[in-house]
């Protein structure tokens, strides 16, 4: 008699509990469907609804993680990081903690707050729990360096995973395609216009040489004709202007070229690279 009573009571209790759980799960599936269809705004609403009604906090990790992903997809990185952090706090095991942290790092990379990304990567690397995931840490470190425009170190980070990896080769090529800003300036001090030619701006470099030659001639000519004041004025106003201009130009052209080279590589990563991206 007593056993029968207990069995029946237990049945009803389980029925109540599982019904609630099923509903939460259905809500999670609804949100997931929206997420999979890239309807991120609606997906966030449904995940938030799930979190609001999930009094047992069963979906605290999953829902917050997905909300973070939705916000990241919409380039709302501050909001994304906030939710990945909540996910990290409610993660049930180390692997999930690692995933959340990596998402925070990826959001920081995209937000261009690369210093914070480095700080988090250092923390992960020092953590004994994540020793077996060092390749992933190096992978995101490489990406962080690429976004911090340090392609040489990025190549080194990718080389630690696989020397022949596509990203290592790309980072190396980018580094080699860049020009030295200092070298461009130094050769412009020696021969005005040479820096511009070095950065590929040949016409501008030749014009610079011509202006400097003409202005130099007029200055020297004024001095040789004892028109000392003229010589100083032309030298200061014309010659020095072109001389300084050629140095500044060389510096500017070198910076612009480096930005172009980096942007070209980043465009490749965005549009053609098939691996995991931030």
């Amino acid at each position: 008699m007593k056993t029968k009573f207990l069995i029946i009571s237990f049945y009803f209790f389980i029925a109540f509990v599982t019904e609630g759980q099923d509903l939460l799960h259905s809500q999670f599936e609804v949100a997931d469907n929206l997420f999979n269809n890239h309807q991120y705004f609606d997906a966030i609403t449904e995940y938030k609804r799930l979190l609001f009604f999930d009094s047992t906090k069963t979906y605290q990790y999953e829902a917050n993680y997905k909300i973070g992903e939705c916000y990241k997809a919409g380039a709302k990185f501050d909001e994304a990081i906030k939710h990945f952090f909540i996910a990290e706090q409610s993660a049930k095991n180390d692997s999930l903690v690692f995933d959340s942290k990596v998402q925070i790092i990826r959001s920081n990379i995209l937000r261009r707050t690369t210093d914070r990304a480095f700080q988090l990567l250092d923390e992960l690397e020092k953590d004994e729990k994540f020793k077996d995931r060092i390749d992933e840490i190096n992978y995101w470190r490489g990406w962080t360096f690429m976004f911090a425009d340090d392609w040489k170190v990025a190549a080194r980070a990718f080389a630690k995973i696989n020397y022949n990896s596509e990203l290592r080769i790309l980072a190396d090529q980018t580094e080699k395609a860049k020009v030295s800003v200092t070298f461009a300036k130094v050769i412009s001090y020696i021969l005005p216009g040479a820096g511009s030619i070095y950065t590929g701006k040949i016409l501008s470099g030749l014009m610079s040489i011509a202006w400097n030659l003409a202005a130099g001639y007029w200055t020297v000519n004024a001095f040789t004709e004892s028109r000392v004041f003229d010589g100083f004025v032309i030298g200061e106003l014309v010659w020095l202007r072109f001389y300084r201009g050629s140095i500044k130009n060389a510096e500017q052209f070198a910076i612009e070229k480096n930005i172009d080279v980096a942007n070209k590589s980043l465009r490749f990563l965005q549009n053609e690279y098939k691996g995991i991206k931030p």
Binding site: M1, K4, F5, I8, S9, F12, A15, F16, E19, G20, L23, Q27, I44, T45, K48, R49, F52, F53, W218, E225, R227, F229, D230, V233, I234, L237
Partner: protein
């Protein structure tokens, strides 16, 4: 009765007790189901409302508006309608806010507050002329907040080029503690410290750079004077030394600096005036933003 007694007697007392317990559990579970259907249907109007309120408190106004919208399809509530409209107001969708505050104008206990918010939304649309026209209309004005609307109307004069009303009339709407500041704004609006473009051009024609100095660009003015004078001097000395090419080159440069400086002075005066206007509007905006345009904070 005899039949019932017969049936009861066929069951032992233990069986009867078990049957009763099962019956009780079934009834209670059915009732529980009834009660919880609403609780566990996340999309029921009640749940939409509480979820919407949560989003609203979390400042996620766009999503809150969606929830309130669904709720209002099946239920009617002035406060929810107000929150719905206010959600749009909070995210700067003033046209939507206006449309929805309008729904509370008549036969609503919060009609005055809604009308005030309707005017606020119109004010923030930045079509100040339309706002002033609207403020003149008596049929929409909230009786409780007439002073506030009039103040808003006067504030609009600071932001566009409309002719300013009489100063006494203007100042009367503002509290005593602000009279001095508002009076200062009024004077600055009426007599802006502008620089004349014509004067700048004439000055630069007479003395290169003088127009720029007049508009506050002292460094540029002095540079323009020196450049023009030096190029002129170099042109003369080169002609004297029989260097025709260099003579003409520096003559061209001097003429370029001279005309460029006149044009630059005119542009500089215009930029100066635009800066004065921008700074004035900015100062007024910060002043009133910090004081919420002297409006009460309304929410339900």
């Amino acid at each position: 009765m005899a039949i019932l007694n017969n049936i009861i007697s066929t069951f032992s007392q233990k069986h009867l007790a078990l049957l009763l317990i099962i019956l009780c559990l079934l009834i209670s579970s059915a009732e529980y189901g009834q009660q919880t259907t609403d609780k566990i249907n996340y999309l029921s109007p009640h749940n939409r409302l509480i979820f919407g309120n949560y989003l609203y408190a979390d400042k996620d106004y766009l999503r809150a508006a969606d929830e309130f919208k669904e709720y209002l399809k099946v239920e009617s509530s002035d406060t929810v309608q107000f929150r719905f409209a206010n959600s749009f107001f909070k995210i700067g969708r003033y046209t939507d806010a206006i449309d929805n505050f309008k729904n509370l104008f008549f036969s609503s206990s919060i009609s005055n507050e809604s009308r005030l918010m309707y005017y606020e939304s119109n004010f923030f649309l930045k079509d100040y002329k339309t706002f002033r026209d609207l403020a003149e209309r008596d049929d929409y004005l909230p009786i409780k907040f007439q002073k506030e609307i009039e103040r808003l109307k006067f504030i609009t004069y600071f932001f566009d080029d409309a002719f300013l009303p009489d100063q006494n009339l203007f100042l009367r709407s503002f509290p005593d503690s602000m009279q001095q500041q508002i009076s200062k704004f009024y004077q600055l609006k009426k007599y802006p410290k502008h620089r004349s473009v014509t004067t700048a051009v004439i000055l630069s024609t007479l003395i290169p750079g003088a127009g720029k100095i007049y508009t506050g660009e002292i460094g540029d003015g002095i540079t323009a004077l020196i450049s023009t004078a030096l190029c002129g001097y170099l042109a003369v000395t080169n002609f004297k030394a029989d260097h025709q090419f260099r003579g003409w080159l520096f003559t061209g440069l001097a003429a370029f600096f001279y005309t460029g400086n006149i044009y630059g002075s005119a542009a500089s005066a215009q930029i100066y005036n635009a800066r004065v206007r921008f700074n004035f509007v900015n100062e007024v905006k910060i002043f009133f933003d910090q004081r919420n345009y002297l409006l009460p904070q309304i929410d339900f």
